[in-house]
C-alpha cells in the first residue's frame, strides 16, 4: 500500500513538473534569438559580461565558450558557430578556407613579465634580448652582468633564476614567444614562436595563467609571463620592457592603448588579411610612441561578411549578431576597465564601424539592425 501511494505521489510530482516546465517554456520565454560564439579564452570574461548585459537589454542570448583561439578558428571555419574569437589574426592559409572573414578587434591584451624576488617590487628593466636569454637558460643567475647593467638601481640576488611558463597550449605563449623571436635571432632558430614551445628542461610549466602565477609566487627568484589583466588582479610584481623607441615601459592600460593607437595607423580593411598585424604589434614598421608597451595585441571577433553563408542563419539572427558586435565595440567598452581589460581607442572603433557596415545578409546590407 505504502509503495503504491509513494509511486502515485511520485507520478503526480513528475507530471506536474513536466507540465510546469513546458508551460514555462511556452509562455514565459518567447523564443529568444540565440547566438553562439567560441574561441579565445583571454576575452571570455569580457564577452560573457557583454552577453549578460546584452541579454538584459535586448533579450538576445549570446553563448560564448572560451575554448582557445585555435578551436575558435576551427569552429568558425567549419561554420558551427555564429562568430569566433581569436587572439592572433587568422593566418593566410586559414583565411583561404574561410573566404569573406571579417576581423574585428574587440579588446586589447598585453603579456606581462612577472617575477618574485625578495625585496624587489615591480619595475625591473628587461630587454627582449635579455628575456630571450633568461627563458632559454643562457642567463641562469639574477646577478648576471647583463641584468645588472639593465638595472643599476637594484641589488639583484646571487641566485638561480627559476623559469616558469605556460604548460597548456596557449595564445599567450604565442604572443610572448613571437616577441622573443623578433628580438633574438638565437631564440628564433632554437625555439621559435608557437602555442607550445619545447622549453628547456628544468623550467616549470603551470596550467593556465593561475598555474603560472602560482608557480612564480611559490618559488623564490622566479620569472614567468601572464596576461596583463591577470598580473594586475593577482598583484604580482611585473617588469618594464624596452620598446622600439628604446624606452622601458611598464604595462598599464595607457601604454597598451598607446600601442594600439600606433598600430591603428596601419590597420588593414576588415575583410583583408590581418596577418601583417602579427601575434603582437610589431611596431618597428611605424613610428612607435615613447610610451607604447611592446608586447601588446588585439583580441579579434571573427564573422563572415555575408552572413547567409552559414546554415541556420536568419535575417533576425544576422541583425542581432551585427547589433551585438556594434554594441560591444561602443557601449560594451565601458565594461572593459572594470574587468582589467583595455578599452579600444577611438581610431580603432571608427575602423570597426566601417567594417561592420559592410556585413550583409543575402547580399543586402544590414545597417538598420537596431
Amino acid at each position: 500500500m505504502n509503495y503504491k501511494i509513494v509511486a502515485i505521489l511520485e507520478g503526480i510530482i513528475l507530471i506536474s513538473l513536466i507540465a510546469g516546465f513546458s508551460i514555462y517554456s511556452l509562455y514565459f520565454t518567447s523564443q529568444p534569438i540565440r547566438l553562439s560564439g567560441a574561441g579565445a579564452t583571454f576575452p571570455a570574461p569580457l564577452i560573457q559580461k557583454w552577453s549578460a548585459e546584452f541579454k538584459d537589454m535586448t533579450g538576445t542570448q549570446v553563448n560564448y565558450e572560451g575554448i582557445g583561439s585555435g578551436g575558435g578558428v576551427k569552429q568558425f571555419t567549419d561554420k558551427t558557430i555564429d562568430f569566433g574569437a581569436s587572439d592572433p589574426p587568422m593566418k593566410d592559409s586559414e583565411l583561404s578556407t574561410a573566404p569573406g572573414t571579417l576581423h574585428i578587434p574587440i579588446t586589447i591584451g598585453g603579456v606581462a613579465v612577472v617575477y618574485n624576488i625578495q625585496g624587489i617590487s615591480k619595475g625591473l628593466n628587461f630587454t627582449g634580448e635579455a628575456l630571450a636569454s633568461i627563458f632559454s637558460l643562457d642567463i641562469t643567475r639574477w646577478n648576471d652582468p647583463k641584468l645588472e647593467a639593465l638595472n643599476p638601481g637594484s641589488t639583484l640576488p646571487n641566485a638561480d633564476i627559476v623559469v616558469c611558463h605556460r604548460s597548456d597550449s596557449s595564445g599567450t605563449t604565442k604572443v610572448f614567444t613571437s616577441f622573443l623571436s623578433d628580438e633574438s635571432a638565437s631564440w628564433n632558430t632554437t625555439y621559435g614562436a608557437s602555442n607550445v614551445i619545447n622549453w628547456p628542461p628544468q623550467t616549470i610549466g603551470g596550467k593556465g595563467n593561475p598555474g603560472v602565477a602560482a608557480a612564480v609566487q611559490q618559488n623564490q627568484n622566479s620569472i614567468g609571463y601572464v596576461e596583463l589583466s591577470y598580473a594586475l588582479q593577482s598583484e604580482i610584481p611585473y617588469g618594464k620592457i624596452q620598446n622600439a623607441a628604446s624606452r622601458f615601459t611598464e604595462p598599464t592600460t595607457e601604454t597598451l592603448a598607446s600601442a594600439a593607437s600606433a598600430v591603428s595607423l596601419i590597420l588593414p580593411p576588415g575583410n583583408a588579411s590581418w596577418a601583417s598585424i602579427g601575434s603582437y604589434f610589431n611596431l618597428h614598421t611605424v613610428e612607435e610612441p615613447n610610451d607604447a608597451y611592446p608586447i601588446t595585441s588585439f583580441s579579434y571577433a571573427l564573422v563572415y561578411q555575408e552572413l547567409n553563408s552559414k546554415s541556420g542563419m536568419t535575417l533576425d539572427k544576422a541583425k542581432a549578431l551585427t547589433w551585438f558586435l556594434w554594441w560591444a565595440i561602443h557601449d560594451g567598452q565601458h565594461y572593459a576597465l572594470g574587468l582589467s581589460y583595455v578599452p579600444l581607442p577611438q581610431i580603432v572603433i571608427t575602423h570597426n564601424e566601417a567594417t561592420l557596415k559592410t556585413i550583409s545578409f543575402n547580399g543586402q546590407q544590414i545597417n538598420n539592425w537596431t
Partner: protein, 332 residues
C-alpha cells in the same frame, strides 16, 4: 520420462512454474550476457579508434617515438618536421606512480587493517565513511589543494629537511622547487589511498573467521593474527594495489597542476616533469594542426592504455602464481 513420473507433486508444480518463467529467464539471461559482451565491444572499439588515429604518428616516427627526448610540435623553421618523443613522459608516469605506491600502499593497508581487525564496529563505520568521502573528491579539487596548500607546505617544511638528511642520494639533489615529480607522487599517493584501502578492507572482511580463530587458538598475538589475515587475502590486496596503480597512472588533472609540466628526463625527484596523461591534458584542447600533432597525442594515449593493460596483466600473473602456490601447499 520415468523420473518425471516419480517426482512428488510439489516438484511438478515447480516445473510448471519454471516452464512459465522460462522464456523470461532466457531473455533476461541473453540481455545481461549482451551487456557483459559490451565490454569487449567498447574496449575493442577504443583500441581500434586510438590505433587508427595514432597511425600517422606511428608511421612517421616509428620506435623513435618511444625513445625520443624532444617534444616540439611547432619547430622554429617551418621546413623541418615536428619532433615527438615520449620517453620523458613514460619515465614521469612510471616514477610518479611508483612514488604513489611506495607512500600510499602502507598507509592504505594500515587503514584497512585497523578497520577490519583492530577497531570497534561503530568507529570502523565512521572511518569508512570518511575514507569513501575522500574517494568522492574530484581530482581538480585535489589539484587546487595541491597548488595552494600542499606545495607551500612541502617547500617550507619537508623538502629542505629531506634534502639535508637524504641529500646524498641523487634523487633528492638540485634546487628545491614547489611543483616537482615528488609533489606529483605525493598527491597521487593521497588520491589512491581511498581506492586501495576500501578494497583491501573488503578483502580482509571477507577472510573467514575460522582463519582468525585458528590463529588465536594457536596462541597468535593480534599482530600475528593480522598477518594471517593479510596473507590469506594476498591476491585481493594485490588486486587493490593494481587498481590504485591504475588510478595513479591515469590521473590527469591533479598531477598536471602540481608536477611542473616540464619535458624533462629528470634524475632528481625535486625536478619538474611530465606524465603521459598530463601532456594530453595540457595540449589536446588546442591541438588542431598539424594533423601529426593530434596523432602524436593519440599515440601518447595508446602508450598509456598499453601500459595500463601491461600492469593489469602483470598483476593477474602475480595473483595467479601466488594463489597457485597456496593451492599446492593445500591451504585453499
Amino acid at each position: 520420462m520415468k523420473t518425471k513420473e516419480k517426482r512428488p507433486k510439489f516438484l511438478s508444480n515447480l516445473r510448471s512454474i519454471s516452464k512459465r518463467k522460462l522464456s523470461g529467464d532466457l531473455s533476461f539471461k541473453m540481455f545481461v550476457t549482451l551487456i557483459a559482451c559490451n565490454i569487449f565491444i567498447v574496449l575493442g572499439l577504443m583500441f581500434f579508434q586510438i590505433i587508427q588515429n595514432s597511425w600517422l604518428s606511428i608511421q612517421t616516427y616509428g620506435i623513435g617515438f618511444l625513445v625520443g627526448k624532444t617534444w616540439q610540435p611547432f619547430p622554429p623553421s617551418s621546413s623541418s618536421l615536428p619532433s615527438f618523443g615520449a620517453l620523458p613522459l613514460i619515465w614521469g608516469t612510471l616514477v610518479t606512480s611508483a612514488i604513489a605506491l611506495v607512500l600510499g600502499v602502507p598507509v592504505s593497508l594500515g587503514i584497512s587493517l585497523a578497520l577490519s581487525e583492530f577497531s570497534p564496529k561503530r568507529f570502523s563505520y565512521f572511518i569508512s565513511f570518511f575514507v569513501e568521502l575522500l574517494a568522492a573528491i574530484p581530482s581538480v579539487i585535489y589539484g587546487l589543494w595541491g597548488i595552494f596548500v600542499l606545495i607551500p607546505f612541502l617547500q617550507a617544511n619537508v623538502y629542505p629537511y629531506l634534502q639535508a638528511v637524504l641529500g646524498f642520494l641523487p634523487i633528492f639533489q638540485g634546487t628545491i622547487r614547489g611543483p616537482s615529480v615528488l609533489t606529483g607522487g605525493i598527491i597521487l599517493a593521497i588520491m589512491i589511498i581511498p581506492t586501495v584501502s576500501a578494497i583491501a578492507r573488503d578483502v580482509f572482511a571477507a577472510v573467514p573467521n575460522s582463519q582468525r580463530e585458528a590463529a588465536i587458538a594457536l596462541g597468535a598475538t593480534r599482530w600475528e593474527k593480522a598477518k594471517v589475515v593479510m596473507s590469506y587475502g594476498r591476491s585481493g590486496v594485490i588486486g587493490a594495489i593494481m587498481l590504485g596503480l591504475g588510478r595513479a597512472m591515469g590521473e590527469t588533472m591533479a598531477i598536471t597542476m602540481v608536477i611542473g609540466n616540464s619535458f624533462n628526463l629528470f634524475s632528481s625527484f625535486l625536478e619538474p616533469g611530465s606524465t603521459l596523461a598530463s601532456i594530453i591534458a595540457n595540449e589536446f584542447t588546442e591541438a588542431s594542426s598539424p594533423p601529426v600533432y593530434i596523432s602524436a597525442l593519440m599515440e601518447v594515449g595508446l602508450i598509456l592504455l598499453a601500459l595500463a593493460i601491461a600492469v593489469n596483466g602483470l598483476a593477474r600473473l602475480i595473483i595467479w602464481r601466488s594463489t597457485r602456490k597456496v593451492r599446492e601447499v593445500g591451504l585453499v
